[in-house]
Amino acid sequence: MTAVLPELDIDGPAAPPRSNGELVFAEPWEGRAFGLVMALVDRGVLAYDAFRDALIARIAAWEAAPPPGECWSYYRCWLQALEEVLDQQALVVTGDVDARAATLAARPPGHDHRHHDHHGDGLHHH
C-alpha cells in the first residue's frame, strides 16, 4: 500500500500552492469513514466495486427523495453504503452497530473524545 505512494514535497518549490487544498473532510468522522473503507479494501475485506455500487444507490435514493430538513451529506451516504455492504456480508450486522453506537453514546462526558493513544477506550478485546 504505502510502497506505491512516494513521499512528496509538502513545502518548498516543488509543492504547488495549498490554496488548492481546501479541507477535504468537513469533520473528523468523515475522514475515519473514508479511511475505514480504504483500509478494508486494502486488506481484501471489502470489494470496492460492491461498496461503490451501494454508494451510488444511496446517493441516488437521497437525491430522489431528500428527507425533509436533512442537508446533503456525501459522507452520510458513504457510511450508509459501508454499513449496508458489511451487513450483507454478515461481517458486521446492523444490529451490532446499533448496540455499539448506543453504548458509545452513553459514555460519560469526557470519554466521548477520540484520542489516538486511547483508541477503543473501554473496549479492549485482546
Binding site: 490554496s19 488548492n20 481546501e22 475522514g31 486494502d42
Partner: protein, 202 residues
C-alpha cells in the same frame, strides 16, 4: 439492512466510531492502517501529484506523448498510483477544445493525482448543471471559453477517470518544471479553470 438504519439526525461520528471499533475487534481493520490511509489522501496524494504530471508534460514532449497515449502508465512512471487510480485518461486542452470533467453517478475522481474530490465536485448541482450548461458553469468559475472553442464534458466512471492537461500559460517559457508545477491547481485539472500565468494569483 433496511432503510431504517442511520435515521436522519443520528449521531454520525458515534456511528462511525461504533463501526470502526467492531471491525477492529474482529480483526478486519486496525486503527493504524485507517490513519495511514487518511494521511495518504490528505497529505501525500493530492493535486501536487497531478501538477507534477502536467509540468512534466509541458516540458518533455516525449512524456506528453506517452501521457496522452496511456495516462495510467505515464502517471505511474512518476510513481503515482493507488487503489482507485488504475485507469486514468488524460484530456489535452487546446485553443480549439476545452475539456471539463464530472461524475454524474457519484464522485469518481482520479485520486492518486488529485487527492480527494472537493466538496463542489460531489455537489449534485455541479454534477447536473455542468452536463446541461457547461459554458454557464465555466463562466461562474471565471473561465472564459470563446464561442469558437468546443467544450467537451467527460463523465467519469469506475472504469475511466479523467485528468485534464491544461494549456501552458504564456510567459512561462523560462520557468523550471518545479515552478510550472506550482502554477497548476486541482481546478485546472478538473477543467473548471485555466492555468493563471505567473503573478496573476495572490
Amino acid at each position: 439492512m433496511t432503510s431504517e438504519a442511520l435515521e436522519p439526525g443520528l449521531d454520525l461520528p458515534t456511528r462511525t466510531e461504533a463501526l470502526e471499533s467492531l471491525l477492529v475487534e474482529r480483526g478486519l481493520a486496525d486503527a493504524k492502517t485507517i490513519e495511514t490511509f487518511i494521511g495518504i489522501y490528505e497529505t501525500q496524494v493530492g493535486p501536487m501529484n497531478g501538477a507534477k504530471v502536467v509540468a512534466r508534460a509541458w516540458t518533455d514532449p516525449d512524456y506528453r506523448a506517452r501521457l496522452l497515449a496511456d495516462g495510467t502508465a505515464a502517471i505511474a512512471e512518476l510513481g503515482f498510483k493507488g487503489p482507485q487510480g488504475e485507469h486514468i485518461v488524460v484530456l489535452e486542452n487546446t485553443p480549439q477544445v476545452h475539456h471539463v470533467v464530472v461524475c454524474t453517478l457519484c464522485s469518481c475522481y482520479p485520486w492518486p493525482v488529485l487527492g480527494l474530490p472537493p466538496a463542489w465536485y460531489k455537489d449534485s448541482a455541479y454534477r447536473s448543471r455542468v452536463v446541461r450548461e457547461p459554458r454557464a458553469v465555466l463562466a461562474e468559475w471565471g473561465t472564459e471559453v470563446g464561442a469558437e472553442v468546443q467544450v467537451r464534458v467527460h463523465d467519469s466512471s469506475s472504469e475511466v477517470r479523467y485528468l485534464v492537461l491544461p494549456e501552458r500559460p504564456a510567459g512561462t517559457e523560462d520557468l523550471s518544471e518545479e515552478e510550472l508545477a506550482a502554477l497548476v491547481t486541482r481546478d485546472n485539472m478538473v477543467g473548471v479553470t485555466k492555468v493563471a500565468p505567473p503573478g496573476a494569483r495572490s
